[in-house]
Symmetry: C2
Subunit: 303 residues, 2 copies
C-alpha cells in the first residue's frame, strides 16, 4: 500500500501541475527536499503567473519516530505502545490562491498514514478532503464543487458525503470569529472501515476529482472584472485564512512541531493579507452575503 | 492595589495616545467594551494617519471565573483550589506598526493579576515588558531602547535587567523559524518577589518609560526615504510578526480561548503582511544583517 499511495500522489501532482501550468502561463518552481529524520518530498510552487498569486502543490513521503506528544495529536485512535511510535506518512497537499477576488481559493489534501508495521487494526488509515474558500459567493460554484465531491463519495461504499460534508464544516471553523473558513467540501480522517485497497480506491478517486471540481470555477472567474474595494475584501479574507491555518489547522501544527520543512508547510499561506481593526461589511452587500454563509453553513445539494 | 493599577493603566493610555496623536496627525478611534463574563476595557486605534499603518493601545479590566484549562495556562504558580478560579486582571497593551520600514514596530504590555482574593502568597502577580521589532537594524536604536528599560530596572530592587532581557529573547522566539521576533527588550511574569507596592512602583516606572524608550527612534526614522523593495521586506517581516502572535503568543491564545474581545486581541496584527515561498535574503545585505541578529540575540549594552 505504501508504494501504491506514493505512486498515486506523485502522479496526481504531475497531473495537477500540468493543468495549472497551462492556465497560469508560467513554470512552477520545484524543490526536492529531504527530512533529517527520514524521507522527504517534492514541492512545486507557482508565483508571478497570470492567474495565481501563489499556488503550491506538495508531495511528501516521510517516516521516523513520533514524539509521544506528536503521537497524541496524530489520530488513528489505537493505543500507543513501544514501536508504534514509528510512523510512515505520504500525501499530496495543495493550496491555490488566485489573483482575481472572484476566483476562489481552494485546498485539497489526500494522505495515508501507518503506525508501526501498519498491519494491526487501527494502525493504518487514510485521510483527506477538499474545500473551497471564495471571497465572493457564487452559488453555482459551491454546488458544482460539492456535486463533484459527492459523486466521488457515492461511488464508494466506504464513503459518506453527508458525514464528510459536515466534518469539513466542523473542521474548518475559525472558532474565535464564529465563522467557517469557506464554503466547505469534504473532510475525513482515520478512514480504515474497509480494506486498505477499497479505502485507497476512494481516495484515488477523490484526488482525480480535484481538477474537475475546481477548474471550471477558475475558468469562469479568473478574468472577471473587479474593483480595488473587492481586492481589499479578498485581502481581509486572506487574513482569516491565515488565522485558521496558524491557530487551528492540525496539519500545520503537526508540521511546525515535528521539524517539517517550514516552507512547504507554510506554502498554504497567501502571498499577502490584511487585518483592519473592527472591519464591518455593509448590510446586504455581496461581502455581507458571503459572511452570512460562513456563519451558517448551507447544504449546497438540497433544493 | 486593583484600583491603583486600574488608575495607572488608564492614565498611561491617555498619556501615550496624546503623544501618538500629535505625531500621527489624526484622532484615534475609541471603543469602550464590556465582557459578558465580567469587566471590559477601552481600545484606541490609530489608522490612516501619516505615521502609523496601524497602532492600538488597549486597556482592559476584567474579572470572572477561569476554566481549569485557562487557569493552567495562566501562571502564578500556586495550587488551584475552589474559588481560586476566580480571577481579576487589568493591564495596558500596545502595538504600534509605523508605515516607514525604517521605523520599528514596538510592543509593550503591563498587567496585574489576582486569583481568588489576591491575598495569599502566589495569588497575585505583575507581568509585562516591552520589545522592539524593526525591519532594518540601527544599532543605536536597539541600544537606546534597551538602555531606557535597563535604567527603569536599575532603580528597583525587585527587577533585574539581565534576567528580563534574556526572558524577552526566550519568549519572543519563532521556534519554527529559528529566529526571534525582534531585538528584544524586557519581559517578566509572575512578579511577586517584593511587596505589592514595590512591584507596582517598578511596573509604573516601566510604563512611564515607554515613550522615552520609543519616541526618539520613531522621530529619527519615520521620514527616512525608502524603496519599494524595503517596503516589501517590511511586509515579509510583518508576516513573521503574525506567525509569532498566532502560533506562540500566550496572551493571544488566552484571549482567543476565553471569549475575549477579538478585535482588541488581534489589534496587534499588522494592517498588511506577506509570505513569499522560499524567500532568501542577499548575503551581506541590510536584510541579511537583521536576519543574523534575529538568529543570535545580542547584548546591546555591553561593549
Amino acid at each position: 500500500m505504501r508504494q501504491s499511495m506514493i505512486d498515486m500522489v506523485y502522479q496526481i501532482q504531475d497531473e495537477i501541475c500540468k493543468a495549472l501550468q497551462s492556465i497560469d502561463g508560467v513554470d512552477y518552481r520545484q524543490d526536492e527536499w529531504t527530512r533529517e529524520e527520514g524521507g522527504g518530498g517534492r514541492s512545486r510552487v507557482f508565483s508571478g503567473g497570470k492567474v495565481f498569486e501563489k499556488a503550491g502543490v506538495n508531495v511528501s513521503v516521510v517516516h521516523g519516530t513520533l514524539s509521544p506528544q506528536a503521537a497524541q495529536s496524530m489520530g488513528g485512535g489505537h493505543e500507543l505502545e513501544g514501536k508504534d511510535l514509528d510512523f510512515f506518512a505520504t500525501g499530496v497537499s495543495l493550496v491555490l490562491h488566485p489573483h482575481n477576488p472572484m476566483a476562489p481559493t481552494v485546498h485539497a489534501n489526500y494522505r495515508y498514514f501507518e503506525r508501526g508495521e501498519g498491519e494491526k487494526e487501527g494502525s493504518w488509515w487514510f485521510g483527506g478532503g477538499a474545500d473551497l474558500t471564495p471571497s465572493y459567493l457564487f452559488e453555482d460554484d459551491a454546488k458544482h464543487f460539492h456535486q463533484v465531491l459527492k459523486n466521488a463519495c457515492d461511488q464508494h461504499e466506504v464513503a459518506d458525503y453527508p458525514t464528510y460534508k459536515k466534518w469539513c464544516d466542523d473542521y474548518f471553523h475559525i472558532i474565535h470569529r464564529g465563522e467557517r473558513r469557506g464554503l466547505g467540501g469534504i473532510f475525513f480522517d482515520d478512514l480504515n472501515s474497509a480494506s486498505k485497497e477499497d479505502c485507497f480506491k476512494f481516495v484515488t478517486e477523490c484526488a482525480h476529482s480535484f481538477l474537475p471540481s475546481y477548474l471550471p470555477l477558475l475558468e469562469k472567474r479568473k478574468d472577471m472584472p473587479f474593483t480595488d474595494e473587492q481586492k481589499e475584501w479578498q485581502q481581509l479574507r486572506r487574513g482569516r485564512y491565515v488565522e485558521f491555518n496558524l491557530v487551528y489547522d492540525r496539519g500545520t501544527k503537526f508540521g511546525l512541531t515535528t521539524n517539517g520543512r517550514i516552507e512547504s508547510i507554510l506554502m498554504s499561506l497567501p502571498l499577502t493579507s490584511r487585518w483592519e481593526y473592527c472591519h464591518e461589511v455593509v448590510p446586504g452587500s455581496q461581502e455581507d452575503l458571503l459572511s452570512q454563509v460562513l456563519k451558517e453553513p448551507r447544504d449546497w445539494l438540497i433544493d
